[in-house]
């Protein structure tokens, strides 16, 4: 092992993580790699740092850890470099290196103002900073907070204070917010957006000092003589490179700090490299410039990984374009928006949109621009930098520009700046067989960074001739959502009516169940009457779940998982009397397997008599609402989780949806009901309920996103009503809520706008539709048992109703019957 060369990485942030991945991809077995990290956790997504306030789940920001074979030593900050002996110092001793990559990042800059060391004054840089801020701001009596700095980080911090329930002020010395990214006009529009969120903005005002005592900060003094009483202050006045290792080790520093490196990211010492925010990149400027953005850092990581493995990569001038959403407002800045040239400015005071494009004097080349309020044109514009505009400026700035212009980008235009993927890379991948966005992500890495280029990827797919058909199947050219609207608006009541007027042929196993599900919601009746019966999958047709041997399983509803001993005994007796295999399900109920078609009514007679009803385990419908036992018994519980679970399960039982729906209610933050793996999950808080949406287990697990905090039961249910109905109306066939939300343009913000703020004026309709469902619910099994005609379907053989299927046979395993494991031959050849 000792003959391996030793690579040491100092610092473990996002850029170091990217470097480790890039180095591992190049497969350099001759190196052993060690990372020395200052923080007590591996790299996390600092760009999305503020997302921690959504759910306080640091794990959600985790970046996947180091590649195999890399040694990670946490809380081992490098404290010195001995370049002569080629060792670095850290608290536990010396580590020798053959190559050293400095990725020490930045620290928050705290200007020299009096009182900046008072308790209650924070910076906004690491997860520890955020945790300390939260603890302070949520303590009793803390009401007013000020953020010093109105740039990117300041507005993020303002959002955090708002989320923590603090009345928030933003103080910016420059005459506008985000002075580095936007101009005066953009700043004015941005300020109006931010003020509309009840954040007080003080621009052109400096902080002259902070007053307070050992109990914390009390007052912020302004340079104009005014003051503001505050309980918490966040200093977000910028960042400075972590270059304190430079001077003692004799490495050169840039004029504004940072380890000076050349285009290869090498320092003057050929064994020492620097990447990311700590590197002062010197292309032609003396001493170099530090870039506080992740994309240039990633590019530097790639360059050094390439160089160390024999490559010759060099840094191009970094693209400092940024697009972000601050307090719900889109802001984008790209290229050189403050250069000299011709500008095109669009200001719409009504919608709060500001856009500026800067062109060369001959109006032929795009130099840069600024977008506030609507950044949908950003991917196209950024990719057009340095080249001609693909369309007239006003057409590009028109809201929701169509896809046709964007495909005319030059091949060398960078589509994904996080991973430096050009349009040519993407079109090559499409030509090579990629047919969707996940395919392109896997193939080119485009879209796996900040994700802002995903709309562009979709357009390139469409332009590449990949038809992202939304047609449901060969019988309908419409998507499920369009069919839902057609059925609703035209009052269509049957499949035949629909396929005659709006489709072709007689349907198939794809469109028929999908339409049956839509009709179940719009007609709100028994799903097996008339023509509707023929649309149903066998599960819905027999109100039971088909199994591999053609028998069915039966799942009675056990709302919230709460059941009396008497009912448990009935289930046991039914299982025993019909010889059914029993198993407890993951949804806190009991599945009875091995029933033949003709046994189903007999089984359900017994169950319905005992007070059970259908559990809809067979339907694309609400399955269960799991619960933990909650405050009734549990010493940790803070709300009645079982009671709420039962209320929700009874409210939404029988609701047909594009796919199955699962839910759970936990009585406290310990989350024993696993609510965050559900389509809608509820976790009790001291003050009410937190609602999480669009989670699932299954093939690709996804944690649900926090949607509401500390709400009443009434508000909770109203929101879930709308969430479910909006999902049912707009999702694709067999699309779970998780995939639906991920595909939704605007994501969670859009969902919130529609179902909380009623931006589309849809809520009244959604509420009425759910009320209709709740009011018209009837147990399908009871309705079936009461009607001899409906019961007539439940025979194995139409010409021998009493005869069971002779091909079904069982064997016994662990004391219960299971399907016989005979050989399963495949009949080949034509009809005999």
């Amino acid at each position: 092992m000792s003959e391996k060369k030793r690579l040491v990485v100092a610092g473990y942030g996002m850029v170091a993580q990217r470097f480790l991945e890039a180095f591992a991809e190049r497969e350099a077995p001759g190196w052993s790699v060690t990372v020395l990290a200052e923080e007590d956790r591996p790299a996390y997504d600092r760009v999305r740092l503020s997302a921690w306030f959504d759910d306080y789940d640091a794990g959600a920001l985790h970046m996947g850890g180091a590649p195999d074979g890399v040694t990670v030593r946490l809380k081992e900050a490098v404290t010195g470099i001995d370049r002569e002996r080629k060792v670095v110092h850290s608290p536990s001793g010396e580590t020798p290196y053959d190559a050293l990559v400095l990725a020490t990042g930045s620290r928050a800059f705290v200007p020299p103002i009096a009182g900046s060391d008072l308790p209650g004054v924070f910076v906004y840089r690491t997860l520890d900073d955020l945790a300390a801020l939260k603890d302070w701001a949520t303590a009793d009596g803390r009401k007013v907070g000020a953020v010093l700095g109105g740039g990117l980080l300041g507005l993020e911090a303002a959002n955090a204070l708002k989320l923590l329930g603090i009345t928030t002020h933003v103080v910016e010395f420059a005459p506008r917010l985000m002075p580095l990214q936007v101009d005066e006009g953009g700043g004015a529009v941005l300020k109006r957006h931010i003020e509309a969120l009840d954040v007080t903005v003080h621009t052109g005002r400096g902080c002259a000092g902070l007053e307070g005592d050992a109990d914390g900060v009390r007052r912020m003094l302004f340079n104009d003589g005014g003051s503001l009483d505050v309980d918490v202050v966040v200093v977000a006045a910028g960042i400075r490179p972590r270059d304190e290792l430079a001077e003692p080790s004799g490495l050169a520093r840039g004029p504004r700090g940072g380890f000076t490196v050349d285009a290869a990211c090498a320092t003057a010492d050929p064994a020492v490299w620097a990447i990311g925010e700590c590197a002062a990149l010197s292309l032609d400027e003396a001493g170099g410039v530090c870039y506080g953005l992740v994309a240039p850092g990633y590019a530097m990581a790639e360059v050094v990984a390439d160089r160390l493995t024999g490559g010759e990569a060099t840094m191009a001038r970094p693209d400092t374009s940024t697009k972000l959403k601050l307090l719900g407002v889109d802001v984008a800045s790209f290229g050189a928006p403050f250069a000299d040239g011709l500008d095109v400015v669009v200001t719409d005071q009504v919608t709060g949109v500001y856009a500026k494009l800067l062109l060369t004097d001959d109006a032929k080349t795009l130099l840069g621009g600024i977008l506030v309020g609507d950044a949908s044109a950003y991917p196209t514009l950024r990719a057009s930098l340095g080249g001609p505009l693909p369309a007239p400026p006003l057409a590009l700035l028109a809201p929701a520009g169509d896809g046709s212009v964007k495909a005319e980008l030059p091949g060398t235009a960078q589509v994904c700046s996080c991973h430096a993927v050009t349009k040519d890379h993407v079109t090559d991948a499409i030509a090579g067989g990629c047919t969707d966005v996940p395919g392109l992500k896997a193939c080119t890495k485009a879209g796996t960074g900040c994700g802002s280029c995903i709309p562009l990827l979709k357009q390139l797919l469409a332009a590449g001739g990949v038809v992202q058909s939304k047609a449901l199947c060969e019988h309908f050219t419409y998507s499920r959502q369009e069919l839902f609207d057609i059925i609703r608006v035209r009052g269509i009541r049957s499949f035949s009516e629909l396929v005659t007027a709006h489709g072709t042929g007689r349907g198939c196993d794809i469109c028929k169940p999908a339409i049956a599900s839509i009709l179940a919601v719009t007609n709100s009746g028994y799903i097996l009457d008339g023509e509707e019966a023929a649309l149903q999958d066998t599960n819905d047709h027999f109100l039971a779940n088909i199994q591999r041997d053609g028998t069915y399983s039966v799942v009675p509803r056990i709302p919230g998982g709460e059941i009396t001993p008497e009912k448990l005994i009935v289930i046991g007796e039914v299982a025993r009397d019909f010889g059914l295999y029993t198993k407890i399900t993951g949804g806190q109920r009991i599945d009875l397997f091995g029933a033949r078609v003709e046994q189903l009514p007999q089984i359900w007679h017994r169950l319905v008599d005992a007070g059970f009803e259908s559990g809809h385990a067979y339907g694309k419908a609400l399955r269960t609402v799991k619960s933990c036992v909650g405050e009734t018994w549990c010493r940790y519980g803070v709300q009645d989780s079982v009671g709420l679970a039962i209320e929700l399960e009874l409210r939404y039982r029988g609701l047909r949806a594009p796919h199955k729906l699962k839910s759970a209610v936990s009585g406290c933050a310990r989350e024993c009901a696993e609510a965050r793996s559900k389509d809608f999950g509820i976790i009790a808080t001291e003050k009410g309920w937190n609602l999480y949406v669009a989670g699932n287990g299954g093939f690709r697990p996804r944690h649900a996103d926090l949607f509401l905090t500390d709400v009443s039961t009434e508000e909770l249910i109203r929101t879930i009503d709308r969430f479910l109905m909006y999902y049912i109306r707009t999702a694709d066939r067999l699309q779970r809520t998780a995939a639906w939300l991920e595909a939704m343009e605007g994501g969670l913000d859009h969902l919130r706008a529609v179902i909380v703020d009623d931006a589309l004026g849809l809520c009244e309709e959604l509420d009425a539709q759910m009320a209709r469902h709740v009011g018209s619910y009837a147990d399908e099994w009871q309705a079936t048992l009461q009607d001899p005609q409906r019961l007539a379907r439940f025979v194995s053989f139409v010409n021998a109703p009493g005869t069971p299927d002779p091909d079904i046979s069982f064997e016994v395993e662990r004391g219960q019957k299971i399907p016989a494991r005979g050989p399963v031959p495949v009949t080949l050849g034509g009809a005999r």
């Binding site: 007689r506 198939c508 023929a534 088909i546 041997d549 053609g550 021998a800 002779p806 091909d807 009809a831």
Partner: protein, 116 residues
């Protein structure tokens, strides 16, 4: 193929009105399980009830529809689609279910199964 000795024996299964449009029923004829379908236009088809891929007797419970002009049924287990006229699986080459002669005789639906 055709010889003078071929005789067809028709067996009555049920009344035509017992069949729902675009839905199947299963019948047991001399120990052979048959799936019988009535299409939207009223045509009748009889195929083997056994899903040749899964091995279970379930074809009668599949969804009836069309692919192009071909009347079809999809296995309820794994959704492979079969041509109701020929029994041929349209999704997996070389797989087929048997087909049987079927007719409407007055209100009776009758099928013919070769006696071994």
């Amino acid at each position: 193929m055709t010889t003078a000795t071929l005789t067809i024996t028709w067996t009555a299964i049920c009344s035509y009105s017992r069949l729902e449009a675009e839905r199947g029923v299963a019948a047991l004829v001399d120990g052979v399980q048959i799936a019988i379908f009535r299409t939207y236009s009223g045509e009748l088809f009889a195929i083997g009830n056994r899903d040749p891929i899964a091995g279970a007797q379930v074809m009668s419970r599949g969804i009836v529809g069309t692919r192009g002009d071909t009347p079809t049924v999809a296995s309820p287990l794994h959704k492979q689609v079969y041509d109701l006229r020929t029994g041929e699986c349209l999704d997996v080459a070389g797989v087929a279910v048997p087909t049987y002669p079927i007719r409407r005789n007055g209100d009776a639906v009758e099928v013919a199964v070769d006696k071994p």
